[in-house]
C-alpha cells in the first residue's frame, strides 16, 4: 500500500471525509436544483434517460409476463421490485445517490447477495438427486413412472402426427371422435380431422407421419406419453407399434385427503416422512422425493458421517497447508529476488523484471494445464529431458503430487511477490535507514529491526489476501491434478490434493461424475465462507493495527 508506484489509496473507513450538516445541505440544494433543471428542460440527457428506461421497462415487463406464465412468483416479484425501484430512482428528485448506485446494486443483489443467502438456504435442505423439486412435482413423477397398461383394455386406432419436430398422437374413440394430444398437451377432440376407415388421414396443423418417418424416430414414438387429461391419475396413451394406442394408468394412487400413496397392485400404503419421501409402514421408500428442510443434517453429515468427515479433515488440513506454504514459498523467493535487484548499480533491472513476471502474465489455467503435461510421468518434459528419462510419478504419488502442486504454484506466484516486495522496499524512507546507520546498526541489524518490520507492514494485507485466494485456488488444483491421486479408502470421489473448494465441486455433482447433493455441497460452502470470512476479518483488523504503529 505504500509504494510510490501505486495509486494512493485511503484507508476505507478511517479516511471518510468529515460530514457537516451545512455542507450536506448546501450540496443537496445545489444538486437538487441541477437535477430539477435537468428533468424539466427535456435536454439531450433527459431524452437518453427516458429511452433507456423505456427499454428497461419493456424488458422488465416481458420478464414479469414470462414469469407469470411459468408460475415463477419469486422471479416475478423480484423483477417487479427492481422495476419499481428503477423507475422511482430515475424519476424522483430525491434519490440522487441511488441513480449512480442502482445499476451495480441490482447485479450485486441478484448474483452475489442472493446467491450467498440461497447457498445458506440450500445448506439446510436435502436438495439433490431424488429430491429435486416440490412435492406436487414428485407426486406427478411417481404417478407417471408407475404407469402400466390396463389389463384387457381396448386398443384405440392410433396415428402418429408431427408438428415440426414435436410428435403427437391422434386416436379414434369408440364413438368415432378424433382426439389429438402431445407430451405437454392432453387429448382434445378435433372435429375437423379426416378419418378413413378408423384411420386418421389428416389433422389441421399437423403432418401425418408415414412408415419411414416413424421408423426413423422409433424410440421417440415408443417413449411418447400423451396424457388423457390434465389429471395424472387418468393415465396416458402410449403405443408400441405406432398403429394402436392403449391407456396406461398408474398403479399408484394418490389420496389428497389422507396425503398418502397407495400401490394398487400390492395394497401398500406410503405416507410422507420427514425426509421428503413416501415411506411404507415397513420402511420401504418410493424413488422420487421432494426437497424439504432437514435442519443441520448436512452439517452433521459433513462432520459426523465417517464417509465424509474423514476425507473432510484430510482435505481441510491440506487446504490450510497448501495455502500457507504457497504464500510462504512465493513470498520468500519473491523477497529474495526483490532484495537482489534492489540495488541501483545492477544494470538491466527492467529487462530482468519484465522477463521474470512472465509466469504471472500468463492466465492461470493455461499454466496449470501446461505443467500437467510437462509433469507427465512417462512422456513429460521434466522427466524425459530435465531428469534424463526418469519416471517419477509427479502427479500420481500422494506426496509428490502435493510437492508438484506447491512447485507449480511457486512458479505461478513468485513474480507477484517479487513485484510487491520491490514496491515495498523502494518505499522505505531513506532517512530511516540512514538514522539506523548513524546509530551504529550493522547491515543485519538494520535489516532485522528496520527494513523487515516496515516491509511486513506494507505487505501483510496482501499476504493475507493471497492466503485467502490460494485457499480457494480451484483452477490450479482441478487443472493440474484434478484432486488426484484418489484416496484409496474413501467412497466419495476425493483425492490427496483436493482442497475444500474442489471437494465441494465433486460432492455437488454438477460435473456429472457423482450423485448430485446440492444440500451437502452448500453446507460445505458455508463452512468455507465462514473460514475465509474470518481470515479476511482478522486481516482487516490487523491491517488497521499495523497502520497505527506508524
Amino acid at each position: 500500500m505504500s509504494s510510490p508506484l501505486l495509486p494512493q489509496m485511503h484507508d476505507p473507513v478511517v479516511a471518510l471525509p468529515p460530514e457537516t450538516p451545512r455542507s450536506r445541505r448546501a450540496a443537496r440544494r445545489v444538486l437538487r436544483d441541477a437535477d430539477g433543471g435537468h428533468a424539466t428542460n427535456f435536454s439531450r440527457g433527459f431524452v437518453v434517460k427516458l429511452l433507456l428506461l423505456a427499454m428497461i421497462d419493456a424488458l422488465g415487463v416481458y420478464v414479469v409476463m414470462a414469469a407469470w406464465g411459468q408460475g415463477s412468483f419469486g422471479i416475478l416479484w423480484s423483477m417487479v421490485g427492481l422495476l419499481v425501484g428503477a423507475n422511482y430512482v430515475y424519476f424522483s428528485k430525491r434519490a440522487l445517490p441511488m441513480k449512480y448506485i442502482l445499476p451495480g446494486l441490482s447485479f450485486l443483489l441478484v448474483y452475489q447477495i442472493f446467491v450467498i443467502l440461497f447457498t445458506g438456504f440450500v445448506a439446510f435442505t436435502n436438495y439433490g438427486d431424488g429430491h429435486n423439486s416440490t412435492k406436487a412435482d414428485a407426486i406427478e413423477a411417481l404417478l407417471i413412472q408407475n404407469e402400466r397398461r390396463v389389463e384387457g383394455s381396448d386398443a384405440y386406432p392410433l396415428t402418429v402426427l408431427a408438428d415440426g419436430d414435436e410428435l403427437a398422437f391422434a386416436i379414434v374413440t369408440s364413438d368415432g371422435d378424433v382426439r389429438v394430444g402431445r407430451a405437454e398437451a392432453p387429448l382434445e377432440t378435433i372435429d375437423e380431422a379426416e378419418v378413413d376407415d378408423d384411420v386418421v388421414t389428416a389433422v389441421p396443423g399437423y403432418e401425418v407421419l408415414g412408415r419411414q418417418a416413424i421408423l426413423a424416430r422409433q424410440s421417440d414414438v415408443t417413449d411418447l406419453r400423451v396424457p388423457v387429461s390434465s389429471d395424472p391419475a387418468d393415465g396416458s396413451i402410449r403405443t408400441q407399434d405406432a398403429r394402436s394406442g392403449y391407456v396406461f394408468i398408474s398403479t399408484m394412487h394418490y389420496d389428497e385427503t389422507t396425503d398418502s400413496m397407495t400401490d394398487a397392485l400390492t395394497g401398500t400404503v406410503y405416507t410422507p416422512n420427514d425426509d421428503g419421501q413416501f415411506e411404507s409402514a415397513d420402511g420401504a421408500t418410493l424413488a422420487v422425493g421432494w426437497r424439504v428442510l432437514v435442519g443441520f443434517d448436512n452439517f452433521v453429515k459433513a462432520f459426523g458421517d465417517p464417509r465424509y468427515s474423514t476425507p473432510f479433515l484430510k482435505v481441510f488440513a491440506w487446504t490450510v497447508a497448501f495455502a500457507a506454504l504457497s504464500v510462504v514459498t512465493t513470498f520468500l523467493l519473491g523477497l529474495f529476488l526483490a532484495m537482489v535487484f534492489n540495488d541501483e548499480r545492477v544494470k538491466g533491472r527492467k529487462i530482468y523484471r519484465t522477463l521474470m513476471i512472465l509466469p504471472y502474465a500468463i492466465p492461470g489455467f493455461l499454466a496449470a494445464l501446461l505443467w500437467s503435461g510437462m509433469l507427465n510421468t512417462k512422456f513429460g518434459f521434466v522427466n524425459q529431458i530435465l531428469l534424463g528419462g526418469a519416471e517419477i510419478p509427479w502427479l500420481t504419488d500422494p506426496w509428490l503430487a502435493k510437492l508438484a502442486v506447491l512447485g507449480v504454484n511457486l512458479w505461478l506466484g513468485f513474480p507477484y511477490m517479487f513485484l510487491i516486495c520491490t514496491g515495498a522496499l523502494q518505499s522505505i524512507p531513506g532517512d530511516v535507514l540512514e538514522a539506523a546507520k548513524i546509530d551504529g546498526a550493522g547491515g543485519i541489524r538494520t535489516w532485522k529491526s528496520v527494513t523487515m518490520p516496515l516491509l511486513l507492514i506494507a505487505t501483510a494485507p496482501l499476504l493475507i489476501s493471497s492466503f485467502a485466494f490460494n485457499f480457494n485456488n480451484f483452477t490450479l488444483i482441478y487443472m493440474l491434478t484434478g484432486g488426484g491421486p484418489r484416496f484409496a479408502d474413501a467412497s466419495v470421489p476425493l483425492g490427496h490434493t483436493d482442497i475444500l473448494i474442489s471437494m465441494v465441486y465433486s460432492i455437488s455433482g454438477v460435473d456429472g461424475n457423482a450423485a448430485k447433493d446440492y444440500g451437502l455441497a452448500s453446507a460445505l460452502s458455508i463452512v468455507i465462507f465462514v473460514i475465509v470470512g474470518t481470515i479476511s476479518a482478522i486481516a482487516f483488523r490487523q491491517t488497521r493495527k499495523l497502520e497505527e504503529i506508524n
Binding site: I75, V110, F379
Partner: protein, 302 residues
C-alpha cells in the same frame, strides 16, 4: 497512512561509480546479482520456451514435443482451424471485454456516489460492501447453478448455457471487490474541483462524466484490466453455466482437450495456449506499471 505521504529518494548507499570497483569487488557486490537474475529468468521462462517449441513441433503429441525446436512448422496452428478454438476465443474475448466495460461503468458510478454524496445508509452501504467482498462469489456456485436453472425457465437468455447469463454473474461478482478499490481512488480527487464546477452550474451528471471520470482514468484502467484478466481465465462458473461446446470459453475448451486425450491433443493445446496467452500478455506488458499499482492496492489475480 503516514508512510504513503512521504516521498523519498531510494536508498543510495554507495555513491561511487561502479566501474571504479575492482573486478573481485564488482562480483561480490553486483555480479552475483546477475547470476541470480539469469537463473530466475531461466526458471521463469523455460516452460514458456517449451510451450512455444511444442506448438511449432510437427507431430503434435506430448512425446514428440520434448526436443526443443526439433522442427518448426505451423501445422498445429493450421489445425486449430478445424476445431472450435476460434469460436472459444471469440466467446472468451466477448465475455471478458463486456464484463470489463460493465464493471468499470457500474463500479465507477457507485464509487462516485459513495465518494461524493452524503446520504443516509452511506456508511452502512460501505460497510456492507466491505463485508460482501470477503465472500468469494465462486463459492456459491451451486446456488448460481440453481438460480440460473430457475431463471432459464422464464427467460432462456438469462439461464444456463447463455453467454449473457455468465456475463451477468461475473458482473455481480466483480462489483463488490472493485467498487471499493475505486472508492478509495475517487476520494483522492479533491472535492474542490467538483464544487467549483457545481458553482459554475454543472449538473451532477456533467461533473461525473466530464470531470471525475477523466481524473480517475488510471484506476479505471486497472479495474478494467483486472476484471478482463479474471473473467478471461475463470473456469468453475463458466464450466457449470456453459453447457454446449459452441458456447465454451477457452478455459473450458482447452481443459477439455487436455483432460480427454492429453498425449494426442498436446500440439493443438500448445498452439492454442500460445495464442490465448497473447492478449493477456500484451496487456500485461504494456500496462505493467498500472497493474503493479492495482495489485498492491489489494486485489489479487483470479
Amino acid at each position: 497512512m503516514a508512510i504513503e505521504t512521504v516521498q523519498v529518494p531510494r536508498p543510495s548507499v554507495v555513491p561511487a561509480a561502479p566501474h571504479r570497483l575492482s573486478r573481485k569487488r564488482w562480483f561480490t557486490e553486483i555480479g552475483w546479482r546477475h547470476v541470480v537474475g539469469v537463473l530466475a529468468v531461466i526458471y521463469a521462462g523455460f516452460p514458456i520456451v517449451y510451450v512455444l517449441s511444442a506448438s511449432l513441433s510437427e507431430n503434435g503429441t506430448l512425446t514428440g514435443s520434448n526436443q526443443l525446436f526439433a522442427q518448426v512448422s505451423g501445422l498445429n496452428y493450421a489445425e486449430l482451424n478445424d476445431t472450435l478454438f476460434w469460436t472459444w476465443m471469440g466467446n472468451t474475448l466477448v465475455i471478458a471485454i463486456v464484463t470489463a466495460i460493465g464493471t468499470v461503468l457500474m463500479g465507477a458510478a457507485a464509487a462516485y456516489a459513495f465518494s461524493r454524496f452524503r446520504f443516509t445508509g452511506r456508511r452502512g452501504g460501505l460497510t456492507a460492501l466491505l463485508i460482501i467482498q470477503m465472500f468469494p462469489q465462486m463459492l456459491a456456485f451451486v446456488a448460481i447453478f440453481l438460480l440460473l436453472l430457475g431463471l432459464g425457465n422464464v427467460v432462456p437468455l438469462l439461464g444456463l448455457n447463455s453467454t449473457l447469463a455468465l456475463i451477468c454473474v461475473y458482473l455481480g461478482g466483480s462489483l463488490g471487490v472493485n467498487t471499493f478499490l475505486m472508492y478509495g481512488f475517487f476520494n483522492t480527487v479533491p472535492r474542490e474541483l467538483d464544487e467549483a464546477a457545481k458553482l459554475d452550474g454543472a449538473s451532477h451528471a456533467q461533473i461525473y462524466w466530464t470531470i471525475i471520470l477523466r481524473l480517475v482514468a488510471p484506476i479505471l484502467a486497472v479495474v478494467g484490466l483486472l476484471s478482463f484478466i479474471a473473467s478471461f481465465g475463470e473456469f468453475i462458473i463458466a464450466r457449470i453455466i456453459l453447457q454446449s461446446e459452441g458456447n465454451w470459453t477457452l478455459a473450458v475448451g482447452l481443459y477439455g482437450w487436455v483432460s480427454q486425450r492429453l498425449d494426442a491433443n498436446w500440439g493443438l493445446f500448445a498452439a492454442g495456449a500460445v495464442i490465448a496467452a497473447v492478449p493477456v500478455l500484451i496487456l500485461f506488458l504494456f500496462l505493467q506499471k498500472y497493474i503493479v499499482g492495482g495489485l498492491t492496492a489489494g486485489s489479487v489475480k483470479g
